[in-house]
């Protein structure tokens, strides 16, 4: 009897493989972006595709984000399936006119006669002094607009299946990837499969507190949940991977069981994913809440470049441990050891580089 081979890939490798699978299956899929055909190949996520599919399907773009986004929409209207890649979310801001006014509305305005099968990958920067306009996590800006789908992958298996699902979807799908998620590893099945773009998923079941996380914060939340378990706190961790269409049902149901909610996401705290989820839980399950919901995100100022200013900017596993322990009323004596271990681990490296603790495999 043979055992199936276990393949551990990074999220970056999984995204590359998803693109390859989709391009091989459907000749209408093609890639557009600044750097997609260059030697760096968007952090390796388009590596080898130019050699395999040629420059007509892996198209290097002029530095004209709105212009080539409009071209992608035009091609999509004609039945092609373009995949746009931006190395930073911040670059995609130049294409909002096309995304918001056209991509998001063409199906609606045409009364369902037209569709825009477009995928836009964009990457959230972090660390190494990226600064205020190379590190924005603006998923709620996009998620605010009906007609767009917004997906934030966190783990390798899901990232591959979500990107294939996006490339097979008949709607505009924005895939927002945190740069540090690219390093996360996990088991990835070969070939084609899809992870439906229909809502959150429970990654770790638990009974005492519901931790909803997006993107990179899911990885921190999973590591925090391990430490919390040692302290006797059973955390349910939910990956809010699909922000639009917005499906809060699973989160509300989870809070009905645990009575406690905290949301940790990569964007600004105010007007963020946490705000929307806390509002939904308050509307639908206020009586189930045993404590006010907590939300963690970025503070009300832009991202500074210097690491000296970044100390309290990003929530991390320690933030999550402390908050969840407080919510669930954890025994301080049982919390000390795992908390100190996490603190010591985090202290080994500067805060402005990805930490191996959060690389998995997840």
């Amino acid at each position: 009897m043979s055992t199936p081979e276990t393949r551990i890939l990074t999220v970056a490798e999984a995204l590359r493989e998803a693109t390859d699978v989709a391009m091989e299956r459907d000749e209408s899929v093609f890639v557009m972006g600044e750097g997609v055909a260059d030697p760096k190949a968007i952090f390796g996520t388009t590596g080898g595709l130019l050699e395999k599919y040629g420059s007509r399907r892996v198209m290097e773009m002029p530095i004209a984000e709105n212009g080539f986004t409009g071209a992608a929409i035009g091609a999509a209207l004609m039945g092609r399936r373009p995949l746009i890649i931006h190395q930073r979310v911040d670059f995609a801001l130049l294409s909002l006119e096309q995304l918001f006014n056209n991509a998001a509305k063409i199906s609606y305005v045409s009364n369902g006669k037209h569709r825009v099968p477009l995928v836009v990958r964009m990457i959230v920067g972090r660390g190494w002094g990226q600064g205020p306009a190379h590190s924005q996590s603006l998923e709620t800006l996009f998620a605010m607009v009906p007609g767009l789908k917004v997906v934030m992958p966190s783990t390798a298996r899901e990232a591959k299946g979500q990107l294939i699902a996006a490339l097979e979807d008949d709607n505009p799908v924005l895939v927002i990837e945190h740069r540090w998620v690219h390093y996360a590893t996990g088991e990835v099945p070969p070939g084609r499969y899809v992870v439906p773009l229909d809502g959150p998923r429970i990654v770790r079941p638990g009974a005492d507190v519901t931790i909803v996380a997006t993107s990179y914060m899911l990885l921190e939340a999973l590591c925090a949940a391990e430490a919390l378990a040692e302290a006797g706190v059973s955390a349910e961790v939910i990956d809010m991977a699909v922000i639009r269409p917005f499906s809060p049902r699973m989160v509300v149901d989870s809070v009905r069981r645990t009575g406690r909610l905290m949301v940790v996401d990569t964007g600004f705290r105010r007007f963020g994913v946490g705000a929307e989820l806390a509002a939904c839980v308050a509307e639908e399950a206020l009586g189930a809440l045993r404590a006010p919901p907590l939300r963690f995100g970025l503070p009300d100022h832009p991202t500074p470049s210097s690491r000296a200013l970044l100390g309290g900017f990003y929530p991390n596993a320690l933030t999550i441990i402390d908050a969840a322990a407080g919510l669930a009323g954890a025994d301080p004596l049982r919390l000390t050891a795992p908390r100190e271990r996490m603190a010591a681990e985090l202290a080994k490296l500067p805060m402005d580089v990805p930490h191996p603790t959060f690389r998995g495999p997840f």
Binding site: R56, P62, N66, G67, G74, I106, V116, G147
Partner: protein, 323 residues
């Protein structure tokens, strides 16, 4: 002139006159306040729409702007679906979701119209790119006004089209005004062709009120595009007779003069071709009257259809947000 040529020229006249009369009827009925959406009339600019579309095949695609009635009609867009859309009816081309600035007709090759200035330009590039990807020899045409050349996306679009030698025509319909601001207040004194030169794209063009010259210039650009020789900027100067948005004349509000308006009215594209055809004994008053009457019957029927058509079901308002 051969018979076929005479027929073609007469059809240019008929197409321009049809657009003129349809928009005159919209203007006349607008005060009824039943067409409850903005209207941007093309009165005076019919030769550009008709001349360009006369050089296209049914499988060529056009994209247009907020001022899209003439383009839509000239390419063969369904009149009843257009009027029903303006009346907000379910039978409208958008089912009442778009209004007058979002006209489209797939069967006619009117892919879409977009109300944001310059927004349709890069869409035309994508359509042209898809023609290449699918091995078709159809062309993609973007109509836009002088204001759009001030948008960054105009330059992004020309650059992209040139790099990829796209089968695209960029039809610049220069009516001299963006809303109530003249071209001289918005752009330096330099020819539009300099903008195309900057992107290594050739410029062609003609008097925008001479429908036959427009058709011929367009035919040259189409031939280049189909031969794989890339995009062309087509510049046609013309004039918007009525206000930017709405059914009225507005020469009294102070941004342009009655004298200027009258000098362009003297160059009316419809009357100009009619005069030429009369001089060549190809049409007479009785012939013109017959055309007018036939068009009038069609218009009357289309308005009756639109006004009698049911409104969309309110229950459907949330449909088709996603495909």
């Amino acid at each position: 002139m051969r018979t076929a040529e005479i027929d073609e020229t007469l059809s240019l006249l008929r197409a321009m006159l049809r657009i003129r009369l349809i928009e005159e009827e919209i203007a006349a009925r607008y005060a009824e306040q039943e067409m409850r959406c903005p209207v941007h009339l093309s009165t005076g600019q019919e030769a550009v729409a008709v001349g360009v579309c006369a050089a296209l095949r049914p499988d060529d695609k056009v994209v247009s702007t907020h001022r899209c009635h003439a383009h839509y009609l000239a390419k063969g867009g369904d009149l009843k679906a257009m009027l029903a859309e303006m009346y907000g009816r379910a039978a409208g081309c958008c089912g009442g979701r778009g209004g007058s600035m979002h006209l489209f007709d797939d069967d006619a090759g009117v892919l879409l119209s977009l109300p944001i200035v310059g927004s349709c330009l890069p869409i035309a590039n994508g359509v042209a790119l898809s023609m290449i990807q699918r091995g078709l020899d159809a062309v993609s045409v973007a109509f836009f006004g002088d204001g759009a050349t001030e948008e960054g996306v105009f330059h992004e679009t020309l650059n992209f089209a040139a790099v990829h030698r796209l089968p695209a025509l960029f039809v610049l319909e220069n009516n001299l005004y963006s809303c109530y601001t003249g071209l001289d207040d918005r752009q330096p004194a330099r020819p539009f062709s300099a903008l195309a030169d900057a992107h290594a794209i050739p410029t062609d063009g003609a008097d925008g009120n001479d429908v036959e010259a427009v058709r011929e210039a367009t035919a040259r650009a189409v031939a280049r595009a189909r031969a794989g020789e890339g995009p062309t900027l087509l510049v046609f100067d013309t004039y918007r007779w009525r206000e930017h948005c709405g059914p009225n004349f507005d020469n009294d509000i102070g941004y342009r003069t009655e004298t200027e308006f009258l000098s362009w009215k003297d160059r009316c594209p419809v009357e100009r071709l009619a005069t030429r055809l009369r001089a060549a004994d190809l049409i007479d008053e009785a012939g013109l009257e017959a055309i007018r009457n036939a068009i009038g019957d069609e218009i009357g029927e289309a308005f009756a259809f639109a006004k009698a058509a049911p409104f969309p079901d309110p229950e459907t308002v949330g449909n088709h947000v996603y495909a």
